[in-house]
Structure formats: structure tokens, C-alpha cells
Amino acid sequence: MISNDSMIKVEHITKRFGKKVAVDDVSLNLNRGEIVCLIGPSGSGKSTVLRCIDHLEKPEEGQVYIEGQLLDQKDKNYSMLRRKMGFVFQHFNLFPNMTVMGNLTVAQIQVLHRDEAEAREIALKYLRIVDLEEKQDEFPNKLSGGQKQRVAIARSLCMNPEIMLFDEPTSALDPEMVIEVLEVMRNLAREGMTMMVVTHEMGFAKTVANRVIFLEDGKIIEENDARSFFENPQTDRAKLFLSKVMY
């Protein structure tokens, strides 16, 4: 399933917010079909790494390559490359002024120039996948947190991304809604989607991820396949972290 062609290659990126160095010389690689979890304590810079990959934050130093092509704002391929990535936010960021169907079709129509009938059909397909077909005419404020996040995932999938980036997708959810979102993500992983997930859900990382990257203070401290990382962490900091989060 996992091949050797690199979907994302990050080389020596650094990002500062004022004096604080949020990401400090981080390099990593994500191959097709691979699922990588970024974990670490709050403020470790894992979300910022993910946001730099999608250029929601522009790294000050270093490069990001998508399928071998440099992500560069000045390049004419820039928006096309960015569209290969779907991004799921902690706070969903659904458009409250549109119905669920509107949320799922607006970018398809505006960006991919699909006609409305086609866009709706594709939207319905992904709504079925996240099991929310019956909510298509609701406005987001009528949905639960878990439902909102599943709609947000479907919205991203409608754009046919090759990579899905998840930024703490379950952190803003009530505990009983976490599972339904993780289940959708697990199914995506099974389908062979290339995924990078910033998460605090260690159970998910342990069972779904192929590889885990542990960050602290903006640096990669440890990187290993998921099983080895959880069963036999190499660094003291990873051991300490795991001892605090695994119950």
C-alpha cells in the first residue's frame, strides 16, 4: 500500500511568531498511502508544522515539496499544488451562511468549475461516506460537533485531494463524539488515503498510524513506526510524554 513516491517532503522549515520559534528546522517526509501522526505536548509546534505544509503559515526558511514540486507562492502551479491537500481544522470552519450542501458544493463549482448537478452528486457521495446524507439541507448550527467535523471532512474530500491534513480534528469535540470522527478517518486510511494527523488521540495514533513523529519545542525529537514508538520509545522525553498521556 505504501509506496516510495514522496507526497510531501519538508526540508528544514523554520517558523517564528515574534521571538518565539514555533518550528525549528523541521524536515520530514510523507509517502503515498502513508498515515503519519504528529504528536507532542501543547505548544510543541505540531499544528504549525502542519499549517506550514499547507502554507496557511508561510515558513520563513526551508522548503515544502508536494509530489516533488516546490510549493512556491510565486509559481503558477501554486494553487494547483495546494489543492492536492485537503485540510481539516480543529474548529471545523464550516460556512454558517450555507447549508451542508452549500458548504460541500461551493468550492467545487467556483474552483473546479463543476456544474451544480455534478457537484451535488459528488457531495452526496461523500455525505454518504460520512453518514450524513439526511443532513444535506440543514445549516451547520443545527449539527452536533461530531457531525460538523464529518461535514468538514466531506467538504475537503469533494475537492478530490490526494493528501488529507488533519489539525487536531477531535480536540474541540465532546468526548462522546470523538469516536464517530475517528471512525471516518480510520475508514479513509483503509481506503489508502495519504494522511498527516496532528492529534492527542493516542489510541488512534497507535492503531491507525504507520509512523509517529514526536515534537517538542518546535523540533522533531523522535520519529518511528507507530508500534515501536508506543511500545519502546527511544528518548526520555518521549517516554515521559507517553507516561503522562497513556492511561
Binding site: L94, F95, P96, V106, A107, Q110, V111, F139
Partner: protein, 227 residues
């Protein structure tokens, strides 16, 4: 105090005040609409990427909000004829109502600039980011996602701006426009008794402002429904 109330409180005089009230309402409404256009332009300047446009937007808002409206009316009342005369070489007198509308539009534009700007800035940054990740352009994001959400936040304060304009339109009585305030003054001068016409004018102002604020409350409730 109300010595001439009986003589003043006649159908003809009430019609006279009503005419003044309608002129006040009309001037306020037209000024609000033109002010909204200025506000859209001003807000576009203030949120622009270009420092020069932002500076112009800031200058407009700060100068207008930092000086009295009465002064602005006086300046426009005096300056426009001078400018026109310097071009045409002929004496020029402009309609009082037009001067009033020009001054109040410019004034209202500065306030609505801020209302629109804060309405747009009040939309969550995450909405922009979501659009960015979906590939929508800046303008598509503005038109389809941000402005519809900002609109809801802008409508209630724009209605209160309308109420403010109705009250402030009394200021153009100073340049001779016969709106509600001046109509009351004229009645006072006619009957040598001012308290009755002023109190009646107050009733007319209140009838307008209370009706509008009642309408505004209903509208606010409606707009809040989908939040």
C-alpha cells in the same frame, strides 16, 4: 409656558410639522444610502493591502469622526459655492437640502466605514483559512462567505446610524433648510411661543426614532435565528 398651545395645535400646523418631519426623514434616508456607498469604499480602503489606500481610509474616518458635524455642514455650506464660483466665475447658491445631504452623507460614510470594516473583520479568521484550503480566491471568499456573514453584523448598527441621522438632520436647520427642527422654530416665531412647537417636534422625532428602533429589534431577532 404653553400659552399658545391651543392656537398652535391645529390641523394646518400639524401638517406643517409633518412636512418638516418627512423632509428630515427623507434627508436622513438619502444620506444613509449615499453614506453606505462611501462606507463601502472607505471600508475597502481600510482593509486594503495597499498602505496608501489604508492611509486615505484612516484619514477620512479620523477627520470626520473627530470634528463636529455642525462644523462640517458649515464648511461645505461655505466651501462648495466658492469652489463652483472659482470654476464658473458666476455666483452660485446651492439648495440647502442638497448641502445638508452632501454633508450628512460624508459624515455618515465615515461611521459606516467603521461599521462595515468591523463587520468584515468580525468574521472568524478560520472562514478565510477554510476558503484558502479549498482553493477559493480572495474575492470569491469575500463575496460568498465573508460578506454574507458580515452583513448580519452590519445591519443592526446601520439602523441605529439611521436613527442618529434623523436626529442630526436637525443641524441643517442652521443653514436654512426647513426640516422638522426649523419648522418648529418657524411656528414658535409665528406665535411668540416656542415650548409648544418644540415639544410637538420632539413627539414627531420620537415617533420616527421609536418606530425604527422597534423595527430594528425585530430584524435583529430574525438575523440572529440562524446563528
Amino acid at each position: 409656558m404653553f400659552s399658545a398651545f391651543d392656537q398652535i395645535f391645529t390641523v394646518a400646523n400639524m401638517q406643517y410639522l409633518l412636512r418638516g418631519a418627512l423632509i428630515s426623514l427623507g434627508i436622513a434616508a438619502v444620506s444613509l444610502l449615499i453614506g453606505l456607498i462611501f462606507g463601502i469604499i472607505g471600508a475597502s480602503c481600510k482593509i486594503s493591502k495597499h498602505a496608501f489606500l489604508r492611509a486615505i481610509g484612516n484619514f477620512y474616518v479620523e477627520v470626520i469622526r473627530g470634528t463636529p458635524m455642525l462644523l462640517q455642514i458649515m464648511i461645505i455650506f461655505n466651501v462648495i459655492p466658492i469652489i463652483v464660483t472659482s470654476f464658473t466665475g458666476q455666483a452660485f447658491r446651492m439648495n440647502y437640502y442638497v448641502i445638508g445631504i452632501v454633508a450628512m452623507s460624508i459624515n455618515s460614510g465615515a461611521y459606516t466605514t467603521e461599521l462595515i470594516r468591523s463587520g468584515i473583520n468580525g468574521v472568524d479568521k478560520g472562514q478565510w483559512e477554510a476558503c484558502e484550503t479549498l482553493g477559493l480566491t480572495h474575492w470569491q471568499t469575500m463575496r460568498l462567505v465573508v460578506l454574507p456573514q458580515a452583513f448580519k453584523r452590519i445591519v443592526p448598527p446601520v439602523v441605529s446610524e439611521f436613527i442618529t441621522l434623523i436626529k442630526d438632520s436637525s443641524l441643517i436647520s442652521t443653514i436654512g433648510a426647513i426640516e422638522l427642527m426649523n419648522s418648529a422654530k418657524v411656528l414658535g416665531a409665528t406665535y411668540y411661543e416656542y415650548m409648544s412647537p418644540y415639544c410637538l417636534a420632539a413627539v414627531f422625532y420620537l415617533a420616527m426614532t421609536l418606530t425604527i428602533s422597534m423595527f430594528a429589534k425585530k430584524l435583529e431577532g430574525k438575523l440572529a435565528e440562524s446563528d
